[in-house]
Symmetry: C2
Subunit: 657 residues, 2 copies
Amino acid sequence: MALLKDLAASRVVIEGVEPLIDGGRFAVKRMENEPLTVTADIFSDGHEIIAAALVTHGGEVEGLETPFVFIGNDRWGATVRFATPGPYRYSIIAWRDVFGTWASDTKKKRDAGVDIALELREGEAILEQAAESGRGSREDAKALKALRARVEKFRKLKDEAALYAVFTEAETIELLRRCGVRANLSRYPVQVPVWVDREAAGFSAWYELMPRSQSGDPKRHGTFDDVIARLPDIREMGFDVLYFPPIHPIGKSNRKGKNNSVTAKEGEPGSPYAIGSHEGGHKDIHPELGSFADFQRLVTRAADHGLELALDFAIQCSPDHPWIKQHKGWFDWRPDGSIKYAENPPKKYQDIVNVDFYGPDAIPSLWVELRDIVLFWLDKGVRIFRVDNPHTKPFPFWEWMIAEVRAVDPGVIFLAEAFTRPKLMKRLAKVGYNQSYSYFTWRNLKWELREYLTELTKEECAEYMRPNFFVNTPDINPLFLHTSGRPGFRIRAALAATLAGNYGVYSGFELCEYEPLVTGKEEYKDSEKYEIRAFDWKREGHIRDDLALLNRLRQSEPALRDFRNLEFYQFWNDNVLYYGKRTADLSSFILVMVTLDPHQPQGGHFEVPLWEFGLPDNGTVKVEDLVNDRQFVWSGKVQHWWFEPAELPYAIFRLSV
Amino acid sequence: MALLKDLAASRVVIEGVEPLIDGGRFAVKRMENEPLTVTADIFSDGHEIIAAALVTHGGEVEGLETPFVFIGNDRWGATVRFATPGPYRYSIIAWRDVFGTWASDTKKKRDAGVDIALELREGEAILEQAAESGRGSREDAKALKALRARVEKFRKLKDEAALYAVFTEAETIELLRRCGVRANLSRYPVQVPVWVDREAAGFSAWYELMPRSQSGDPKRHGTFDDVIARLPDIREMGFDVLYFPPIHPIGKSNRKGKNNSVTAKEGEPGSPYAIGSHEGGHKDIHPELGSFADFQRLVTRAADHGLELALDFAIQCSPDHPWIKQHKGWFDWRPDGSIKYAENPPKKYQDIVNVDFYGPDAIPSLWVELRDIVLFWLDKGVRIFRVDNPHTKPFPFWEWMIAEVRAVDPGVIFLAEAFTRPKLMKRLAKVGYNQSYSYFTWRNLKWELREYLTELTKEECAEYMRPNFFVNTPDINPLFLHTSGRPGFRIRAALAATLAGNYGVYSGFELCEYEPLVTGKEEYKDSEKYEIRAFDWKREGHIRDDLALLNRLRQSEPALRDFRNLEFYQFWNDNVLYYGKRTADLSSFILVMVTLDPHQPQGGHFEVPLWEFGLPDNGTVKVEDLVNDRQFVWSGKVQHWWFEPAELPYAIFRLSV
């Protein structure tokens, strides 16, 4: 009879619960104080009125109940927010509302002139059961006392109208809401996990640089102190995360030379991604950059400038990495005693070997050591990690490792540098990555930007994946920028900064650097990956002012802190992307237009979303042009705009009524 | 470390599995031998080649593996069929294909002229591991032996070409497929339930009649023998299920009279839905219909005519039902000692009381008794039950009861008579109902038929819900038929019979009966629910020939046995619905056109789906007009058709090349 009893306990159906990632296998993600609206189909047999509550656990509350509100077509919804980062979970309870059903039926009968003497006796029983239920006791013993008082009062009354009035009083209704018997209380069987992040997981502006190129002299290896000297400059542009490629000792064997040549000349610094030498591995600093004391000073000074440091976590090893001798069981050895190089046959990457996550001694010791590397740098004050090529490492490793680190500090943020197939990128986000690189870098046309952004902001992945729109990286010098000139850099900056919550710039972008190693290919010429460079950071033609403006608006306009609030609007020109973001209360309502054509003037008519303010098509809104600091009004739904890309390829407006 | 070990075991990701109803909470449904195609996203980290298998259990096989085939974008698919009704389940395993990866990489290197001596030694190790794995042993000890022989052969060879050739031989590839080590074997954690029905669950033509109206004389109560006399008539129309409203003793208290009047006159028979009197309850036969021996004879004779009997399972009781005295704890008593009548305040249904499924003594004794009623009639040869108003009874009861009955006979079919909100109807199908009444009765326009049928055949519910398209019922005399005349009846019959797998007709429909009790309302005048009627079953104006034709085509054309194969095509007239059904091999390719306008001629151009045959737009197909028994050809994609509704409001064609 066990099955029957179990089944019978679920009289009220709770199904179609959203959000729910893979049946609750993975957490829904939110930022602190970001609303989470849970919806579900909730219904029962028959005509009884039902009620339901969202029950949340985590943080400082256990079992907090938020009432569900009926939406329509058996769908219900409830909204909660979580104040601090960490793990939460939600579930749903639903029950038949005995008093509600009684009140509704009795009112109908009374309105129809039917005698309700019997109904009143049934109502009395409902009151009595509530007073005896004890459900209120945990919450409020006073409520139970008040209920008993109601029963006593009821028993002294005689007149039908007076008796009925007891049940229509607000106090009775409130007391029964709190303590009334919940008939056929049913529970959704899944405790749905929710992961709450600090805001930087979903809203951040990254600036990437190579510390060794910060001396201002290509002949002198840059140091952490050189980076410290550049902090005011970076902060002036308004960035809040400062990210370095690996800062560890670089291997000498098979070291790569300038422009990725297979052999380095004497004195060439090698790729920082060939990690490990006799000077140490992942827990060490490349000596030419400075000491741990220098690093600590940098962390502190960066924070003083409002910049948080992000480090690279790249698991591959140079052939000189200490692990190779110390931990043979962490690598995949070939019959001739060599280690498999990283390869994509017939190509080989000779300066790097990969660990074997399922090698003979790898579980758990390799996994533990890798986790400990992250904890080591966390201990040094680093709470953001950009992870190199995570899709070539096992998903279970990331899930385990990220959970372990979060148990120590729920504010640690991992960005997945996976440029791979869409389902792998989504899986990395599911297993715990807080941010993900995206395909933005290769989306230039209006239709493809709309399609991609709609997927990212409206489909299920919006519940767990937060893209970081990098406009370029040391490996990606986008083809669009090879021919776009300065207007193209401004276009891509405006798109990234206003479309996404997280976006990033690799240094040189602000100088409109675009020289490719090979025409039509994405590798930079004289890439900093293989040599030390020096730049004049304020040379003519830079776009520092655009970046500063965009970052300032991102900070001042709450609408731009959200990602999923993106809406596309109509601009009758396929070269102009037009979209808006707004807060729920419309107090921050931003419209953005970007011409996607860096060469020719473009313009056309567009729709002002008057309907979002509840205005008719001939309504009027106040407009602030946030780029040119002008104010005017738009009267009527159809307006016109014009772009001269060499002057200004984007427009940003703030609307109000 | 338990979590790490568990996680690590799932290196290959298996997600996005379809079909999967509520995470595997409910069964996917199929008919015997109907294909089940399972698709899933399957991928792993890195570049290794992976492989996967669908593993099915149930019937006569345990753990049958069907290889998955790569579709694209990390999606894989596999198709299976189940031969006999009953419970099945499927799951998925996936692994890294060590040999496949080796073979692919080694071929690339060899093609690029790279020395593969080391690779050949690794290949030898792969062969050895397979020979030692024992994975083949269960299946085939010979395979392991053959593998060992391969290893020996390999060791005697010297020449690189000869050594490499060992791995490109078909036998090696087949042996490694069967016995090769499955690296990182990962298992999808859900055993997805599949319920397999006999064909009648998804393909059936129902004919409903009131046995007491079959005497041919409204003054004489019909008997089972009168029904036997009508069997040839019914079979002539081609139906295969014969369904009766309740045949149990009818209560006398508060008996309803002619046309649903609140009090019956002396001699009026009452509604058969007021079940139970001093003559018995749900396990008894209304004496005027005959004896159990008569009933058994009817079951047998119906079967002789190719008709299977379906009974009504209506749980409500008349106030005279024996249970009311025998099982007080099965009812909801009011403070004055009365039982709550069925009511929808302020309306009351005084001839019926409902049991209380959660009453003080209801669990388990009421639930068991209700199950035993079904088992009782199953024992009398009834394997199809039409259940009255199941949505007013608890879903857990149905789930439990249907499972219990199926454990006795997996061929029992339950039809849910729930005309209620969409999610409740779907839930009933999920908890086990094999067939469901539908909204078809109220869908008359082209757009609404297309929309509804697309939901039913293409959305998730198609995996578990099988509608039964009744054209009318004793309670539903559709408004469309009040004014449509005979063409309207032919229209609705053609739609129901060709759109749905299951469809049904309530007797009188073939005579174009439509007189309502109240103009604009769906109740029949002089409804058989409250009185005995007599009809001339072959009176002028009947549409018996249409029904016979439609049912004959349903039997002869395999394409019409399927429901989910429905495709709508373009007919440039909003009054003409045009659709097709075809078998996968195109050997049965049926096109149907139905004018939805019973009054005016309609016609227009339409598209011949030449593309389904791979033909160009100017291609030619052979056409059989299955209604008029003519043959012709259509050359070119756009053709024309014309309907005179009074003559023939539908067209059915069979296409071939």
